[in-house]
Symmetry: C2
Subunit: 245 residues, 2 copies
Amino acid sequence: MRKKGKSREKQANVEASLRVSPAVINRLPRYFRYLRELIRIGRLRISSSELSELMNVTASQIRQDLNCFGGFGQQGYGYNVKYLYGKISEILGVTQNYKAIIVGTGNLGRALATNAMFENRGVTLTALFDIDPTIVGKRIGKFEVEHIDKLDEYCTQNQVDIAVITVPRDSAKETAEQLARLGVKGLWNFTNIEFDLSGTRTKVQNVHLGDSLMTLCYNICAEDNRIAAEQRMQSADNQSEQYED
Amino acid sequence: MRKKGKSREKQANVEASLRVSPAVINRLPRYFRYLRELIRIGRLRISSSELSELMNVTASQIRQDLNCFGGFGQQGYGYNVKYLYGKISEILGVTQNYKAIIVGTGNLGRALATNAMFENRGVTLTALFDIDPTIVGKRIGKFEVEHIDKLDEYCTQNQVDIAVITVPRDSAKETAEQLARLGVKGLWNFTNIEFDLSGTRTKVQNVHLGDSLMTLCYNICAEDNRIAAEQRMQSADNQSEQYED
């Protein structure tokens, strides 16, 4: 009986997640982050106007976004922080207890291996792999690095939902295709290479750090140009004022 | 005379960059990345249709995007790879020779400090800072980590365009505000905290790794749900077929 209730609830969540628009989905991790922070500081409830000020979006946007999941908020009471956090966690898959491995334990792979981010988001790191014989067998955090030759065997015998790809660019494509063949559901790609895994069920999330740095450089450069243009206008104004004198 | 020509050219670039729409700007780092790869493998020119296949966007999109910078392509000849790369580099600020520092040399800060990404994008790392006395004075790559107490002095006496923020969350806000006060033009923010630097000229580019991981989890979860729904439909179809038999 209880099982049936649980499965019906799960089904309702599935249907809810299918109704949510991609734009809302893209904003959910940010809600997740802010709500977690509110829990951390012991807040039990929050009004949409207060949350809107905190997150720097309109209260109406927040109400619209959160209404997608049914009426979490109550007029004059606001949102129950823990309940909302729980619902958003479910939609985002945080409660699925996904298992992840890291392939490539260079500087970035090592930095990620010891980061609490996975644990904080319900993802459990289970193994690290590398090809370099001087690294294989070494301990990083609570893991002993395994040789990449064991990847097939490991993925066949263990649940691996996510693979973090931090290998050098030259082996990125091959590694991604191998992991997709092995049925890994998601690749978190830190290389600059883009993968074409159409025809597989594997989803790819790219973290193109270089692109992000470039966008920052562009914004700095554009602001430099804007300020310079303003100064030129100013000095032209000053000159024409001089003539008027 | 030559200086005047140069300055006129620079002015033309500035005006070009002001004309480009934000959507195009967001796509530029990706063009930059693909063109660099083409240069790496020795390609001199490429047609918009070939580039479109490579980048998995329509040829018409590519022509539209690149036309923003004036006629780089020639009918029947395609794009001159190096010329286009140079122009996009200019727009993105790669040729500005920006100087960057890293504040916070934990695992992630260290991983970034030894990454070729900066150099590859015309950004020069010049110093690393940390508060931990056991890290200050140690060498990371070609740098000796400096104490964060020296940040003010360093930023006043040296050109610092970009600060990479990889400090713990509790000191993130304070560090960002200090750097903005010091006139640093751009913050590359790897913390989960968002900064409000309105009223300053400082631009912020966030790398919310946790949000990216969450988006991947959501996509995996949604695909799981989609497959499960398909299987339920399939099994319902099979059942109704059985009844029909």
